[in-house]
Homo-oligomer: 143 residues x 2
DNA sequence: TATTATTGATACGTATTACGAACCATGTCA
DNA sequence: TGACATGGTTCGTAATACGTATCAATAATA
């Protein structure tokens, strides 16, 4: 876009392009199961957590009303369930049902299947290198 | 998720997590300008291209009716414009208006601004390395 | 050439996603 | 106890996305 992007600018452009491509893949897999990106994120989070509604909304950067609808529809489909929180009578815990957990496993397997041929283009040591660099980026993000 | 994910699986997980984080950033910046992720992608594509409606839809993996609505709303906001294609009387070309191009510039600047502190966590040579690895991934994608 | 088929785009109806505003129930604190 | 804060849901509205249907222009074929 600029006539002479700096190496830093070029890296950020590439990161964004990579993300758009990756999200397109995730989106396509989700669409096969009638899942939006938001719902996929929700299911992913619920894999090893049992948050309350507001925590979930904050984590995804959504309003709690949005989460209400999202969870209500997912519950109707039998993917998640709600239960009153033990400690706080106002709060509602959300968690995966067995069917939901099965679906998450399947989604992950499909994602792996789709992405594997792409990352196979890199040697094992390059993969290792890339993994480490990305991991460092992710860790840097939060203080 | 698995007890012992292979290095390949770990890399794919990390790539997906990175993408979700990046998309969250892009989404937030877009929201400040009332832009959906889809519309951001459209504007990005139009930066250096003048496709017809169907090309645009195929590129984004959307149906053409979806593109009609998306472009109609963007046109009403003065970001893009439509013109009949010279060669094919049925086709409609889409392109950025000046205001649209300005917006794309601004979005890119904001993205750079937000991402810079994150990638600054890596040394210049690590950034260079990461850029090259991601670029190779992207190039591998299409035959 | 006339007819049929295909292509490019739009219009309509519907479901999902997302938000703001308003609303209850439960907790907290002065 | 009363005032306020917190956690969730409901309601209304806009954008996004799709399937179906439709219309105009082009291409293909008899």
């Amino acid at each position: 876009m600029s006539q002479q992007p700096s190496p830093q600018e070029a890296l950020i452009d590439t990161l964004m392009t990579t993300s758009f491509v990756t999200m397109a893949i995730i989106n396509r897999i989700g669409a096969e199961h009638d899942l939006s990106l938001s719902l996929i994120r929700v299911l992913g989070i619920l894999w090893d957590r049992r948050p309350r509604m507001t925590e979930l909304a904050e984590y995804l950067g959504l309003e709690k009303q949005t989460m209400s609808g999202l969870i209500a529809r997912a519950e109707k489909r039998g993917l998640v369930a709600r239960a009153p929180n033990e400690e706080d009578g106002r709060a509602t815990d959300v968690f995966l049902t067995k069917a939901g957990a099965e679906l998450v496993k399947q989604l992950r397997a499909q994602g792996q299947e789709t992405m594997t041929p792409i990352i196979k283009q890199l040697s094992a040591s390059d993969q290792q290198q890339l993994h480490e660099l990305l991991q460092r980026l992710l860790n840097a993000r939060e203080p």
